[in-house]
């Protein structure tokens, strides 16, 4: 090694040394990694779980490559009330596309979206919702779809909180995602929403890269035109990533069983069961929307984020019910 190279190396190493010292000081003298969570049994359960699974001398220790955590998106990481964000995007797409589809003026479910008669996803049957999903989200590439979604997200605001939807993400959840990542967890989103829709903002908003988003998707067609290749979303649903499908997609996409799973509705139950199955020490968590003042209160009878079975099964399976009212100091 040349002397000049040696000097550069030593100087660079010394700067890195001071950074490392600071990092280690934090680690040896930890501050609260979850400042927006109130003290209590839920927060303690999370901190204990992470402490044990990352402590090599603890019986529950888990090697870093097996520290997989999976999170639902709607109602778990961001607000899903009074309607799913993606549904609102799709309704706006129908109105934008209407001039090119005169036949929609007398075809349901499009007619009543255009006329404004039905304004919420709860007003549509499952089949109608799928029709709207297909009509607004296919016959284009993922890139084209994501451009539309990005533009819409940049210009739309939540009706009550007057924030962009990407501002309606839960602060305690952002802290948890970042805490888990700092402790060697690989964090995935497993959403019932379109995976390209969530990939539009997952990295920027949650710090979760597109390839760690698993969600609903369409069949694709390989289209070659001269020396240009594109994959086009066909109007055929390939995966509706809800319920048991979430567990299946986790196996197919990750090939490992999560040790932590976090949801907020009945559709997340199989993912939590898979994670906390007998003989494992997995942690299951469910957000309970019980704060009508700062957010919303809904669970058993709601068309959105219904949690009746989840509340019953949580006891049997040992899942943590996170009270957004009691456990969270702040919401957004």
């Amino acid at each position: 090694m040349k002397i000049s190279t040696l000097i550069v190396t030593v100087i660079a190493s010394l700067s890195i040394l001071s950074l490392i010292s600071m990092a280690m000081a934090v680690d040896l003298n930890p501050e609260d990694p979850l400042p927006s969570w109130n003290e209590g049994s839920t927060k303690a359960a999370i901190l204990n779980f992470v402490a044990n699974t990352t402590n090599q001398s603890h019986p529950d220790y888990v090697e870093p490559e097996e520290r997989i955590a999976t999170f639902d998106n709607d109602g778990t990481l961001w607000c899903e009330y009074p309607d799913y964000v993606q549904s609102l995007f799709m309704f706006d797409r129908v109105r934008d596309m209407a001039p090119d589809h005169p036949e929609w003026n007398d075809t349901e479910p499009f007619r009543s979206i255009i006329s404004g008669e039905r304004r919420a996803s709860a007003n549509f049957s499952i089949n109608e919702s799928l029709q709207i999903y297909v009509a607004t989200s296919t016959n284009m590439t993922s890139e084209e779809y994501m451009d539309l979604a990005k533009e819409w997200l940049n210009t739309s605001r939540h009706p009550r909180f007057d924030l962009p939807y990407t501002g309606c993400v839960y602060k305690p959840m952002l802290e948890l995602l970042s805490y888990l990542q700092s402790q060697g967890f690989k964090v995935y989103i497993v959403t019932g929403g379109d995976e390209d829709f969530v990939r539009t903002f997952s990295d920027e908003v949650y710090g979760i890269p597109a390839e760690q988003v698993i969600g609903s998707a369409f069949r694709l067609q390989f289209v070659e035109n001269n020396s240009s290749v594109a994959l086009v979303k066909l109007p055929q649903i390939l995966v509706m990533d809800d319920g048991q499908e979430k567990a299946k997609e986790i196996v197919q996409n990750i090939g490992k069983r999560p040790i932590l799973a976090y949801g907020n509705s009945n559709g997340d139950i199989p993912m939590l069961q898979f994670t906390t199955s007998d003989g494992r020490h997995g942690l299951g968590l469910l957000n309970h929307h019980d704060d009508p003042v700062r957010e919303y209160a809904y669970d058993k009878g709601s068309a959105i984020g219904r949690l009746d079975s989840g509340l019953v099964l949580a006891g049997e399976w040992g899942w943590q019910i996170v009270s957004m009212k009691e456990d969270w100091k702040e919401i957004f």
Copy 2:
């Protein structure tokens, strides 16, 4: 910070400092990252591509999160001749399972595997191969399948090289994988083989974690038994990950277009086309098995790793044909 903590911090930092100095010394005075590659246009093309895409002041610079590289497995990363490793595993599975399947003694394709009349996958039709795949690889969980595959890989050896199959991986390719990873690339395997089969050894052998392996797969069934949950591989093929399916799976699993794709047979063409499509600066590479002395020579007429179209399209699309004879100093 307590004094004892400070001492621990300083000692730990100093050890890390010396490691960093070593690492930086290499970085400031770079050694050849591909020592098993002979100098020439192929090696230069790889080194230039990586230098440009990682150089912020170069027009071809690519942000780290977009540095996706996809590699085929059989014939690209490890030896696929005289037969696919997974096929040999399946033939052995048929013989192991035969006592529980007396009906196989007079049912093809099983009969001729048990009798030893047909010994290579080239002797079976595509439908027969799928039948063998389904019969040997389903009605169990991924974990159970991977245990079987692991045990088999630990006890089987390549007939010519007398090495375990996981020893028949190409040294120049291991160097390339590790070089790309050191330059911020996220490397995926996109294989026509069963994804659980490749996940069995990908981390240990290639340094590629299970969740970065995309391959063929079966439909799964969610099975709940008391408080135990398992996902069982059903005898229904969900994905045969070859040809255009490789490009589709990349979009669905990663959600980003690769900037480097590397294969060795016609089945890899769509993945390379997708990567090097018009207007992009992607790099496409194909191993050409042209070294009968150190490995094998096969391409146009072969039932395994057929490359006739690939050799033709490489010129049109600007792909690098890697001559294993000329470009590689060592094979294994």
